[in-house]
Amino acid sequence: MSKTPIITARNVDVFYAEKQALDKISLDIPENKVTSLIGPSGCGKTTFLRCINRMNDLVDICRVQGDIKIADQDIYASNVDVVALRAQVGMVFQKPNPFPKSIYENVAYGPKIHGLTSGKADMDELVEWSLRKAGLWAEVKDRLQETGTGLSGGQQQRLCIAREIAVKPRVILMDEPCSALDPIATAIIEELIDELRKNFTIIIVTHSMQQAARVSQRTAFFHMGNLVESGATKTIFTSPKDERTQNYITGRIG
């Protein structure tokens, strides 16, 4: 790799109570690229994703060991403010979860609590910028005051993406963002992901191998809590080194 990676994970172990969910994960995530995490259900890819913005903190029984650094800063260090971290590492969830508020308020909420704008005009501009970036502006510009939950599933997911990018994070985590969407909405989101990587580093968990192949430049394959293999997407899909990877991408396990 030419550039230094933005996220480096070293020997990350995660336990849910006594059960080990991740075992010694070491992975580098390059900046302004899309990295996809693939693997069968229960392999720990979502757990790893949620370590990166410390969403696992919400689970009482969850314990994380090892090092995760974003831009050389240890995110599990005691002086790290989780709130500031999550402003830098946004997350898009499996099921679209807009706030039951207006479209405008959905996008404006993040910037508002982080104090990113000064004045109404500034905020209007940021909301428009975010919605344009998320490819939603043309569809909602006349109904910004309508509730976000009234949109279609695909639109809701793009609204959630707009809500994230309004905070201008460095990294966006996506946890199976298209699994609740139809193929057309999925295609739109995939196009959007490709567009967004110019400004953001994206890590996407997906169950669809085709999706991983289409949208990502890097791929990491997880299996039973282990990181089996990672590298350029092309390499992983065409000449995997490990037999398990081979079996998974050809549909023999998973």
């Binding site: 913005n53 969403m55 919400l58 009482d60 709130v83 500031a84 999550r86 402003a87 946004g90 997350m91 898009v92 969830f93 099921k95 979860n97 807009p98 706030f99 039951p100 909420y109 993040g110 609590i113 982080h114 959630c160 809500r163 994230e164 309004a166 905070v167």
Partner: protein, 422 residues
Amino acid sequence: MTDLDTSFLQGQKHLAKRHRSESRFQWMGRMAIVVSLSFLVFMVGSIFWQGKSAVTTTEIALQINLSADVVDPNDIRGASFDRIIKATLCDTFPEATSRKEKKKLYGLLSSDAGYQLRDQILENPEMLGGTVTIWVNASDDVDIFNKGQIDRDVPQADRRLDDQQIGWIDQLSGNTAMRSVFNAKFFTNGDSREPELAGILSALVGSAMSLSICFVLSFPIGIMAAIYLEEFAPKKRWSDFIEININNLAAVPSIVFGLLGLSIFLSTFGLPRSSPLVGGMVLALMTLPTIIIASRASLRAVPPSIREAALGVGASPVQATFHHVAPLALPGMFTGAIVGMARALGDTAPLLMIGMVAFIVDVPQSILEPATALPVQIFLWADAPERAFLEKTSAAIIILLVFLVLMNIAAIILRKKYELRF
């Protein structure tokens, strides 16, 4: 092709049995509803039947001579109105001559009649100087006789009015000197030993004050406790312990809270006895667990995805809770609070313990003055020996039920209107 397998149709015997047991079960369910509904109809019906007569009261007209030698226009208050009333009665029924007969005669009118005469004169002093017709309250016995609740066929010794008194009453109603009017006093007076004067107002005001105190104390404390326990408290052993205790408190008989209030609020803190302040505090103790449990349930009903969404854009846990989760749970919290308050409105036992069972005539002016409450008033009247308090009791129950129904309707409206579905 010809030997088509029809064995799947042959379970008909079993099928019939299954249908029978299903219809049997449905009939049992319907019967249960019919029985419980009939109990309800019987209860509400009998209360309304008994209470409806409290809407009216009986008044008697007296032709009273108010010449200057009877009432001095310059010193109205100095006149002896009781004596005027009695003299007028004796003039109307000159056949009452003995002490005993006169006493029976005076018993036709409310003991308040003299004051009622005075108040009417003070209101319209121009009536002085001539003979005027004044309507005053009949006594409770005359009132219920007029409402048909004393049977004149019963032997004289067994009824509250004897033949002579009934004769006078007949004479009065024959002369149209007796009428039934709307019983405004029931809604504007406090309690009284005389049923015809007793009213519900002081109990209503006492209940309203107690409930306000109860709400002001229990709602904020209850929802903050619920929010902390549900959203912030680490799920450790001691939070389980707290949860078990809260659930237990919700089931503790209310009289125990009354005893607690007696020993802490009255004995230790020395707060004024019988006051709506203490009543409200005791009811708040009682309502608190209900509000906490309902609020926690409605917080739990907010989908976790909302919480994650807020945290995902970098909201702190407090911001996520107060910007997103709590507002969505608020209608449910209000519903729980109203249901708890409705229970508090109807509760008597804790108020008895802290002395709100006192005989309170005056409408309380502040939360520190002695007061009584609606259910306690019902208890007091139900306990009173006078037959005429029977209808008052039922009427007070009707008023209590009306408020309970209103509160429950408010809870339903809140829930229907503001509840969000996901």
